[in-house]
Subunit: 317 residues, 2 copies
């Protein structure tokens, strides 16, 4: 099957073709690039909602509810879950995804878990490529679930049209610790497990933080929604907030600005990823890397000089 | 001042010279590379202890205690705190670092906060370069504090000789969520705020997880230490665990394996970082990037073809 045929299958919604492509994107197989080029003209209509938060705050339960609500509205849903990976085994964990699996018999819901990669991999590139595949499959909404507050997550949040930050009361100086990071990029703040002590205080703190911070360039005033996801409380309000932000994002100028921002991120991460692959190739894979490191250990070259030497071999300038 | 003089000052412990270099490393100034080359032969003796955990688990309080205990043993201490950054303002937050500042009048304690960078930056490279500067300054122990469970943090944990993972009871399916990620790379697990309900259960869960998991290649059996850092409880046991792991790491073969692992990570991240800089240069900085993106938006080229085109201009192959 040639790349065009493969792409056509995916555009028609062929789940097996899409799954195979996604796996190979994740494994950095060279053939995927031609299929992605063919898919490109069929993308651009999916709406991406990012769901970010520390482990244990209830992201999966919230995502599960969103799937249910959006399905009832007749929308086709894609879900991408980014799992912290074992750097040893390379495997993703699916633990509490099981809940979500009740939707897996629904052919309009496509759920995909992505592992974060070792230090040679790049999270962002395969994420955005996989979002594109779901987009090409005709998904209306893609829910993108990520853990943590690291740079990878900031990148992921940046490519979502609407970013939800999920928090829970009782994490002490939580707000203090994350304020400068994730608070500024959240369009919606969800205080989940809001039956717990400290929910009101947390709400006030977020509000204060938002008031103290510089006004956002795009003019959006972030929403704070309290939920008790396990009982379905606050889900209606959450969906309304998402829809309100979506309507806001529909403005043509905002739309163009957003597209430019995302494409810049995608282009740069794509380039970095391609080049990383070539670095390893040029080093003759692992073996060459070991040899280079042995030279450094033996004191023949320092780290910085060796790095420059390899670079000169790789680059034209 | 030439690079050799600059390096000599730092080796002699000149704090102003070191601070200036570190700032310029963080800002990716080209001149730093020559100083780092000069410093290289003076490095290799510092012992790095990583302290990782979600926001609010009490990492800073623990670090504060470790500074105090190691200082009493007459050791020179470096502290590197990696803060989640605002992608908008680029600033690092220092909120609860204030506690630590009581050590800042002690000239043998050198504390440095590092912001994580935007998507073009690389966390890992400047981190390891800054560790090298502290190493060259003659620090015996460097405490490296990071937030979160993302890939950046895994990389950071990988370059520490001893990795502490800090957890607190009451985060629900916490362990479940992080098990495959950070659990396998922790040498010591700290259950902080152990006066809280659920500490015993958490301890059992970690133990079970460690028993279920594959035995570590290096043969180390991770320790679990319960602390109530705010009251100084468990700190003695924690320090003993660190020292025990340090003795374990002293084995010559383990030492060499560790050095190889770290140098591989450093070399690759260094190369990636250098190349990223050159990508932006080749694109003519932001302006060229905008132009490339506009071409994509206009439909003249798809993302993947444009990326290939830029790559061809950059690389010799």
């Amino acid at each position: 099957m040639n790349p065009r045929e493969w792409a056509q299958r995916i555009v028609k919604g062929d789940i097996r073709a899409a799954s195979r492509l996604m796996r190979d994107i994740d494994d950095r197989m060279p053939w995927v690039s031609d299929v992605l080029k063919e898919l490109y003209p069929h993308t651009g209509s999916a709406y991406v909602v990012g769901v970010t938060g520390s482990p244990g705050v209830g992201k999966s339960t919230l995502v599960d509810w969103l799937i249910e609500v959006f399905r009832k509205k007749g929308l086709r849903i894609g879900v991408v879950v980014i799992d912290p990976t074992s750097p040893f085994t390379g495997g993703a964990i699916l633990g509490d995804r099981i809940r979500m699996q009740r939707h897996s018999t629904d052919s309009s819901v496509f759920i995909r878990s992505l592992a974060t990669r070792g230090s040679m991999g790049g999270l962002s590139r395969s994420t955005s490529d996989i979002l594109r595949v779901m987009d090409a499959m005709g998904k209306d909404i893609i829910l993108l679930e990520t853990v943590g507050v690291g740079q990878d997550e900031v990148d992921v949040v940046n490519i979502a049209h609407t970013s939800m930050i999920v928090l829970i009361p009782g994490l002490g100086d939580d707000i203090q610790a994350i304020k400068a990071g994730i608070l500024e990029i959240g369009d919606i703040f969800v205080i989940n497990k809001c039956e717990r002590e400290g929910a009101e205080r947390m709400e006030r703190e977020i509000m204060m933080m938002l008031e103290l911070g510089a006004q956002r360039k795009d003019g959006w005033v972030p929403k704070i929604i309290k939920t008790e996801a396990i009982k379905g409380k606050g889900i209606k309000e959450l969906v309304e907030a998402i829809e309100e932000h979506r309507a806001f994002q529909e403005d043509p100028e905002r739309k163009r600005n957003f597209l430019q921002k995302v494409l810049k991120i995608e282009l740069v991460t794509h380039l970095k990823d391609q080049i990383s692959t070539r670095i390893l190739d040029a080093l003759g894979q692992e073996e060459g890397l070991s040899r280079a490191v042995d030279e450094i250990i033996a004191g023949e070259k320092d780290l910085y000089s060796k790095s420059e030497e390899i670079l000169k071999q790789l680059m034209c300038q």
